[in-house]
Structures are given as structure tokens and as C-alpha cells.
Amino acid sequence: MMNRADPRAWGINQKLAFLAIALGALALIGSPSPGGAVTINTQELADIVESEVDHVTVEELADWVVQDRADYRLLDVRDPESYARYHIPTAESVELRDLHGYPLYHNEKIVIYSDGGIHSAQAWFLLRAEGFAGAYILLGGLDAWKDAILFPELPADATPDEVASFESRRAVSELFGGKPRTGGGGTANPAEIPLPKVKPPAAVAAPRARKKHHKEGC
């Protein structure tokens, strides 16, 4: 016979079941509000800004786009005309004034970019204030994207290490329809090089409807 069938004393199973019921009953009293109203802790926000954990680098973002990762949202907070001219693949166009009420989930990783960093930083504060803890700023914005991803430059006096790493950056640049700059001094300023067409390269998903890979769960 099973050893747990002792009717007199409370075994471990009974005790645990009782504990579970007690905790379950206690749960009836108060419910945590999931992602509801938040109070803005300015000190906490300042600490986050100071520690720079709120950043995503353009290299990281390029990796995510190339891997076709679906665990982030990329928001372009520039005006729609600029967005139409060029945007980073997978980006969605949202202006600052439309940010409130834009369909975002509290548990998403949200990366914001603008040309430089001012508008994205402002959008970041708005989102954080609304409790979107997963908001990140694309470090350096679209300017950094152009410099480092679309038009990476190999200085004339590059070390062998730099040349080696440039080769992979060249591949990434070409994948995104950019144009690597080699030879230093003589090449054009990124502002004068025509931007790639908005249509992203074949290997990269277009700005898409929400598609979630089931990366989590069992």
C-alpha cells in the first residue's frame, strides 16, 4: 500500500494543499494591478538615464533586423514625410502627439529613434511615464544608423583588426542597401550619399503586421 495513506496525521501533501488554499484565499483580498497606473519616479528615471541601460546601439538593432527577430517594436517618431523617404526596416511611424494611445503592450521591448536623439528621448520619457518599462532609445538615432550601418567608413590608415571588422560591416551595409566608404578622406559625406530606397532588402522583413515568433513558452 502507499505510504501516504495515513488517515490520522496531516502529511506534507495536506499541509501544502492547505497552504495553497490559504494563499489563494488571501489573493481574493487584493489584486495587483497588472501594468496599470504608475507613479513617475523621477529619481529612478534619472538613474536609468545615468546608467545608460535605456540604450540600444545601431549594431544591436541591425542584428535584430537581420535575424528577423519579432520580440521588439521599432518606432520612428519623425514626421511621416521623413519616414516615407527612408526608415529603418521594421520601423513603424508614430508622431510624438500620437504616441499616447498608440497600440503598444507593456511587456514589449520598444525601441524609439529620431534623427538625432532629442525627439526619441522625449518619446522615451512619455512612454516610461505611461509605464512602458521596456522602452529604449536607439543610441545616436538615424544619424548613427547611417554612419555605422548604411555607410560605414574604413579609414585610410586602418589597422588589420579594423579592416577585418570592416568586412562584416560591409556585408551588413550592403544587406541594408547602403554603401560602405573605403579609402578615407576622399569619399563623400554621408549626407550627400543617396539613401537606399525604402523597400528593404530581400533578406529583411518589411515593416510588418505584428508577428510574434513563439520564442517563449514551452
Binding site: 489573493a27 541601460v53 507593456h106 521596456g134
Partner: protein, 199 residues
């Protein structure tokens, strides 16, 4: 410091993969120790002679649920950052039935087959081969299945929002359901064991 640590950027992809491996090994170890590497024990579930699978899974659900609830109550977990996989009602119902059918026929679910493989059980190896062939076939058929797979979408819905009740109410109801389930499972096990002994 507030969890989930990964979502709050406390560590990056590499560390998260290492942690995932550690947690995965721990999970597998305890499944093995609970006897879940054996297809006989697992299949006994479906004949109501050994309800260990049901008990272990529901214990895990209740433990995780109470833990998450109270940790988020204490402000240590941001529950809104915890991933909720979206619901596609019909495809997931059918998928559940297919998985259950495979479970009865093969004696394993995908996770426990890995546990079985780790101790060198040949039936688990065969099952694992089946899992991978199935994934491959599904991948090849996906273009035809895509419309169905995305149908009856309900979004990221949880029981409390679907029923329009407090989270606490759902927590209580699930605990009561689990405890009644444990009691019922044990009663059935004893009854069947007695019948076995008499026969």
C-alpha cells in the same frame, strides 16, 4: 531591482542563454527524478493508474501562479512584462488534441522525450526523431496552414480579463480547482489500485 531581469536589461542575450541552459538542466533533472523519463509512467496517466503527471504539472502551475502573484503584489515582479503567448483558439485546441494523441501513442511529450533520451531510452530516441520529423513536415506545410494557424485570434488574453474578474479571483479558483483535482486523482488511483489487487 525588479524582475523580469532580462526584460529590464539587467543582462543581455548571452547571459540569458546561459541562465536558460542552467534552468533547463534543472527542469530536466527534476522531471527525471519524478520518473518522467519513463513512457510507462507517463502513459499510466491516461489510464488513471498513476496521476503523477497531473499532480506535478498542477503543483507547478499553482506554485508559479502564487509566486508570481505575490511577488508582483510586493512589487518585485512587473507582471506586465511577463510574456503572454497570444491565443488562437481553434488552432490551439486542435494542436492540443494532436499533442495529447501523440502523448498517449508515444508515451512522451516533447519535453519528457528529451529527458528520456538523456538516460538512453530507445523509445524516447524514436519519439524525439518523430518530433523533429513532425516539425520538419509542419514547416514544409506551413504555407498551406498559415491561414488556419492565424485564425480565431483572441490576442494576448488572460483568464481574468476574459472573464472580467479580479486576478485574485482567478488565483483562488485555480487553487481550489487544483486541490480538488489532487483529491480526485488520488481517489481514482486508490480505487484502481484496489481493483487491481482484487483481480
Amino acid at each position: 531591482m525588479i524582475a523580469p531581469f532580462y526584460k529590464y536589461g539587467l543582462f543581455g542575450d548571452e547571459v540569458s542563454l546561459i541562465l536558460a541552459a542552467v534552468i533547463g538542466v534543472g527542469f530536466g533533472f527534476f522531471l527525471e527524478r519524478a520518473g518522467f523519463g519513463s513512457s510507462r509512467k507517463l502513459a499510466a496517466q491516461f489510464y488513471f493508474t498513476d496521476m503523477a503527471v497531473f499532480k506535478v504539472m498542477f503543483s507547478a502551475i499553482v506554485t508559479a501562479m502564487l509566486g508570481l502573484f505575490y511577488l508582483s503584489w510586493a512589487g518585485l515582479v512587473d507582471i506586465s512584462m511577463v510574456y503572454v503567448s497570444p491565443t488562437y483558439l481553434l488552432p490551439q485546441l486542435i494542436g492540443g488534441l494532436v499533442l495529447g494523441l501523440g502523448f498517449i501513442v508515444g508515451g512522451y511529450c516533447p519535453g519528457t522525450s528529451v529527458v528520456g533520451i538523456s538516460t538512453g531510452r530507445l523509445d524516447a530516441v524514436a519519439f524525439g526523431g518523430g518530433v523533429f520529423s513532425g516539425i520538419f513536415v509542419y514547416g514544409e506545410l506551413y504555407p498551406w496552414l498559415a491561414d488556419f494557424v492565424k485564425s480565431t485570434s483572441m490576442g494576448r488574453v488572460t483568464l481574468d480579463s476574459w472573464l472580467g474578474v479580479d486576478v485574485g479571483m482567478v488565483v483562488f479558483a485555480v487553487v481550489i480547482m487544483a486541490v480538488l483535482g489532487f483529491w480526485g486523482a488520488t481517489t481514482v488511483e486508490r480505487k484502481l489500485a484496489r481493483r487491481e489487487a482484487e483481480a
